[in-house]
């Protein structure tokens, strides 16, 4: 693999430091099936099926603090409404809950997340 080593990126008008781009990229992400099996991912070592609609993913490279940004969602092919919450996050794991739209009953669903923050 070739490595492009530059300090700045420009479109001819605006210039940003490369560090902004690298630091702003997702540090971990997954698209997993309803049994926590990752279908595609980055920086994830395993998925954990804790029970109905209850999933934990463990990072390979940890985040430095547990206060980071996580975006979670469900993938559904029907018009039925479901939601996905981040129920817990640490520097090494994230736990998602997938629910019917009433936010009470858990439901097994394909689930996705992306994490933005600083690596340890």
């Amino acid at each position: 693999m070739s490595t492009l080593s530059v300090s700045n990126i420009t479109d001819g008008t605006d210039t940003v430091e490369t560090g902004y781009v690298v630091n702003g990229s997702a540090k971990a992400w997954v698209h997993a099936n309803a049994s926590a099996a990752p279908l595609n991912s980055l920086n994830v070592s395993s998925g954990l099926d804790n029970g109905v609609g209850d999933y934990t993913y463990t990072y390979t490279a940890a985040l430095t603090l547990s206060y980071y940004s996580s975006q979670a969602n469900v993938h559904v092919s029907s018009s039925a409404a479901y939601t996905c919450n981040t129920n817990a996050q640490t520097t090494t794991t994230i736990t998602l809950g997938t629910y019917r739209s009433d936010q009470i009953a858990r439901s097994d669903r394909e689930n996705l997340f992306a994490v933005f923050g600083d690596l340890a």
Binding site: A37, L42, G47, A120
Partner: protein, 143 residues
């Protein structure tokens, strides 16, 4: 350091290696909450590809030492030199020690089996009673 940060190696490995679907799953129960259903750990295919290829993942003992490092403090595993290739069985053992609490795989001394490595075919596809799954105490170990 010529080996760089672990995250950079993971990103590079993902671009180079085909994902590997493991033929194993790890079932475990929390001995302090035996009413909870059994959990099923699924190895990530990109992680497994990196484990089998070698030159990407850090030694497992770096993760174990990092359990005692407070958030925000320098951790060892992202900067450690990578280890060589593992077999799939070795990779599963590594993953158990990395991703499952030591209270389950190291400290539990009871008679009940609270952790088993099984072929993926032994995991039920019918999830109707998912929250009632328990480890079959008669089931043979797969690895």
């Amino acid at each position: 350091m010529t080996h760089g940060h672990l995250w950079d190696r993971l990103a590079e490995a993902k671009s180079r290696l085909a994902p590997v679907q493991s033929k194993y799953r790890v079932l475990f129960e929390n001995p302090e909450d035996l009413d909870a259903p059994a959990a099923v750990l699924v190895p990530d295919p990109n992680w497994m590809a990196a484990a089998l290829a070698g030159g990407v993942l850090p030694p497992i003992d770096t993760y174990q030492r990092d359990r005692g490092v407070a958030d925000g403090q320098l951790k060892e595993h992202p900067y450690a030199s990578p280890i060589g290739a593992m077999t799939e069985e070795e990779a599963i053992e590594y993953l158990v020690m990395k991703d499952i609490p030591p209270q389950i795989w190291r400290d539990y001394k009871g008679n009940r089996s609270v952790l088993k490595i099984v072929p993926v075919e032994l995991i039920p596809s019918d999830r109707s009673f998912r929250n009632a799954w328990k480890i079959n105490q008669e089931m043979e170990m797969a690895a």
